[in-house]
Assembly symmetry: C2
Homo-oligomer: 211 residues x 2
């Protein structure tokens, strides 16, 4: 599945890039289990016994695949950030104008935060609980994510399409809208991730377009 198809429209029926490969190996099953537990109760409230039980292993079985609980969090966080960044870069590359690029990136970003809300919660809320070195590495990916949108806003401002006072501040506000989706979205919500994505894409365009 190529993102190219969904990037422009923002409402294609196929799922976005999965932030993980599903259940292929035992390590993947452990990541799956840990995502569900971390998202539900937080990193520190989750025990390695919870994770092992959900993955169908004994408590000791976890440590064959990950040296510590924090390494498991890091693996999940890394995969999640890489998936999100890749998705944004593809969406930006496939868009002919800054307006299209903004709609596609913010729309897909919001959609991703709904579709993979458990992964997103771990990515966004458990990030501060990484070890120092792991956090530094992830921070680099976060800056790249920010830069994708900042570059679009700056290009649109220079081209005269956008009316923006402060590009970094507006980047933050626009990403905030999308990130916060994972806080309130869950499986009970009636609206589809595609619908959320397309409306957030439009909101972002509205927020910056010259009138």
């Amino acid at each position: 599945m190529s993102l190219a198809t969904s990037a422009g429209a923002g409402n294609s029926p196929e799922r976005l890039h999965s932030p993980r490969v599903l259940g292929t190996t035992t390590a993947d099953r452990l990541k799956e289990a840990a995502i569900i537990e971390f998202a539900e109760r937080g990193f520190h409230a989750t025990t390695t016994r919870d994770i092992a039980a959900r993955a169908g292993l004994s408590p000791a079985g976890v440590y064959v695949h990950f040296p510590s609980k924090e390494d498991l969090l890091y693996a999940i966080t890394l995969t999640g950030h890489e998936a999100a960044l890749e998705m944004l870069q593809e969406a930006a590359a496939d868009s002919p104008t800054p307006t299209d690029a903004l709609r596609a990136t913010v729309g897909n970003f919001a959609r991703w935060h709904a579709e993979w809300f458990r992964d997103a919660r771990v990515v966004q809320y458990e990030f501060p609980h990484l070890s120092h070195d792991h956090r530094e590495h992830i921070l680099d990916l976060r800056k790249q994510i920010n830069a994708v949108v900042a570059d679009i806003l700056e290009a649109g401002r220079v081209a005269g399409d956008f009316d923006i006072e402060d590009v970094p501040a507006t980047t933050l506000a626009v990403l905030s809208m999308a990130v916060d989706v994972c806080r309130w979205y869950d499986s009970e919500i009636r609206r589809s991730p595609e619908s959320i994505g397309s409306s957030y894409g439009e909101l972002a365009v509205r927020l910056v377009s010259r009138r």
Copy 2:
């Protein structure tokens, strides 16, 4: 200090309603200490020993004032939600038009999430870790907070000032922008809470105004 003065302008130098009374009693000192610890490391990662030490008490001293760690979280969460709701209601009441009301409420809400970012993080991120009964009660306050903004958007839509397709969805998006401020704001950030508030107020107006 009345909020009436800051509600309209959104950039007055006085601080917004404190979500707590500072250091008056031992219970307040414990709340202060717990806010710092919960905001920094999360509810479950914080030990009652951490809180007691920061408040200058022995580990056992906490239980004279709060029956459990969760009750301490509830007390903080309740005060925080009440302060935020009161602030929004005053800001809305002091505004003559829907546009002014939206600018004032969203602006002050964003400003509050910067100025009291530690309190806000506890309010927003530790909410799921409350006990069932406590969570239900807080949920009621959250619905009232939502309603303040939803009512403003609906009034502006009916009056023809705003161009909104879906009022509940737009309410969510606008509040999301402001709530997410507490995720990235901290004492290192150069921008003042007042400046954040006034620019987020403008962004909200831009997002819904008929052009």
